[in-house]
């Protein structure tokens, strides 16, 4: 989606960033779960927080919500310092949170769960959301599938019409149709002025919905850029099936990385222009071509090195 900032290394120029991290650090003994993470999330943007599982995404989110205390550094959420418990509790009326692992009261029905949260922070958009996401409200949550739980979680996150939503792997467990619905819904919410913090380990999903992306690896922020730039820099995974075995020397170009040729199949990551690649390929007798998005790990390997220390 449209990256709205052109000078990507500078922070969006917005008076009050809904989320502002300043050297946020969390250590558990020798393990540094978050290492001096700093970035701002601007009002009205969908900010993708991308990283492999275990990179420290959930730690950042739990720090922002005051569930755990930072070892050093700080952060502000809707203007409240996360170290100020009272201020943070107050602004939570305007925050929606969808955790990666949904801990509902299992014996309650979906409706009772929503009633429970409604008593604490309102539910003016409940009915509207239930038309988009339809968990079986009269059944007990313990009987829910993963996808139904996730939908109940989505309704719970948005039903009090918060200014800021924090989503931790929001589409996990949803079928592709519901994922699309969720992505579309997020774009509409963003256009209506909501700020969305979207954590995910799925590159294609972040590419699709997010305006800007922060990439976290081993607890450290390794990149912060517009989603278009990320796409340009990430290259494509290409697999070519040739009619006959080919000499790798002759086939490879400077834009190809990690070329692996086995018999008549060649795999590589392509970092150049798509048109140039197609021009190059037509010189060979080709049976099949598969061009896809690279794995997140591949991007890390090629563009951020294996050492994520700053």
């Amino acid at each position: 989606m449209c990256a709205q900032t052109e000078t990507l290394d500078t922070e969006p120029d917005r008076g009050a960033a809904p989320i502002r991290l300043d050297g946020l650090t969390k250590r558990y003994g020798d393990v540094t779960a978050n290492d001096a993470v700093s970035f701002d999330v601007g009002a009205g943007e969908i900010f993708g927080y991308l990283g492999p599982n275990g990179a420290g995404k959930t730690t950042t989110i739990r720090l922002l919500l005051g569930l755990i205390k930072p070892t050093s550094g700080s952060a502000e959420v809707l203007g409240a310092d996360i170290r100020d418990r009272r201020a943070l509790t107050d602004v939570k009326a305007d925050i929606g949170y969808l955790p990666d692992s949904l801990g509902f009261e299992e014996r309650l029905t979906g409706r009772q769960v929503l009633d429970y949260f409604a008593r604490m922070r309102g539910d003016e958009r409940r009915e509207e959301l239930l038309e988009l996401f339809r968990p079986p409200l009269d059944k007990r949550v313990e009987t829910y599938s993963h996808g139904n739980k996730r939908m109940l979680g989505i309704v719970q996150t948005f039903m009090h019409d918060p200014d800021l939503v924090i989503l931790d792997e929001p589409t996990s467990g949803l079928d592709p149709l519901k994922q699309d619905r969720m992505h579309l819904f997020l774009e509409e919410e963003r256009d209506a002025g909501k700020t969305v913090f979207f954590s995910s380990h799925v590159l294609s999903e972040v590419q699709r919905v997010c305006d800007r992306v922060g990439i976290i690896r081993d607890g450290a922020l390794v990149a912060l850029e517009g989603v278009d730039d990320l796409l340009e820099r990430s290259g494509k995974d290409v697999r070519v099936q040739l009619a006959a075995p080919v000499d790798e020397e002759r086939f490879a170009t400077a834009e190809m990385i990690d070329v692996e040729a086995v018999d008549r199949t060649v795999r590589f990551t392509y970092t150049g222009e798509p048109a140039a690649l197609l021009d190059h390929l037509v010189q060979f007798e080709i049976e099949d071509v598969d061009i896809g998005d690279p794995q997140l790990d591949e991007i890390f390997k090629h563009y951020y090195g294996n050492d994520a220390e700053e």
Partner: protein, 260 residues
């Protein structure tokens, strides 16, 4: 802000009903036995060594008050109900943290103090259910076999047990915020309450341990004194209540400062 109190109260209903039913069955058993063995109680009282009676605070077994105090209150109430409260208390916070329910709960505009207090306040359900249901069962049971209870003493044996049960719950709640694993918290809580009860019993028998017994909650609740002698130790109940509030304060203090 009573959303948590409501949901927590609902969660306590089933256990409370089960406990009342258990007491109804136990009462039926003991009341049906009493007329038959009442005459032999003198023999029983002579047959067992005195320390057994001291240990369980048993007196006057041949009266209905002494019999019920011994059979229902000195064991089932003072130990098993206490263990139930310690067990429930120990699960209040730890199990929610473990299951990540606490993440969602605390994403609401509700303070951690309020979460602890509402969860503890939900113990009103078993407290009321047991302390209303069981005395009615005991009172009616006595009437059915042609005996009668002093209703004031019966009411007091329950009223004064509330601070005692709250202290046991408080022990559980403190463990619930300190120990990460709900299973461990529950196991430690119920073991601790059982050990404290035993220590109290032993300290009554052996004068050398008398002073250690002062640290056990059951020392401040004497069901036999209430039922048989109609002695109502309000000061002791006050001590228990203060201890409960202190435990609650410790739990809130720890919970508001820890990572979850």
């Amino acid at each position: 802000m009573t959303a948590i109190l409501r949901v927590e109260s609902r969660k306590r209903v089933r256990g409370s009903v089960i406990l009342v039913v258990v007491f109804a069955l136990l009462s039926a058993l003991y009341f049906s036995m009493f007329p038959g063995i009442q005459a032999e109680m003198d023999v029983i009282e002579e047959a067992f060594p005195a320390y057994m009676f001291d240990l369980f605070q048993i007196e006057e077994l041949h009266t209905i008050e002494g019999f019920i105090a011994a059979e229902i209150y000195s064991f089932f109430w003072v130990l098993l109900v206490a263990i139930y409260f310690a067990y429930v208390g120990a699960g209040l916070i730890s199990s929610d943290v473990r299951s990540r329910k606490m993440d969602l709960t605390l994403s609401n505009p509700v303070s951690r103090e309020s979460v602890v207090l509402q969860k503890v306040a939900a113990l009103w359900v078993p407290l009321i259910a047991l302390n209303v249901g069981v005395p009615i069962i005991v009172y009616v049971g006595a009437l059915v076999i042609g005996e009668s209870f002093d209703p004031v003493a019966l009411a007091m044996v329950h009223l004064l047990s509330i601070p005692y049960l709250l202290v046991c719950a408080g022990i559980g709640v403190v463990l619930s915020v300190v120990v990460d694993h709900p299973r461990t918290a529950r196991a430690v809580a119920l073991t601790l309450v059982a050990v404290l009860w035993l220590v109290d019993g032993v300290s009554r028998v052996d004068p050398d341990y008398e002073r250690i017994g002062a640290l056990t909650p059951s020392r401040y609740y004497d069901q036999t004194a209430i039922l048989v002698h109609e002695e109502y130790a309000l000061g002791d109940a006050g001590i228990l209540l203060a201890a409960f509030l202190a435990l609650l304060a410790v739990a809130v203090f720890v919970f508001t400062r820890r990572d979850i």
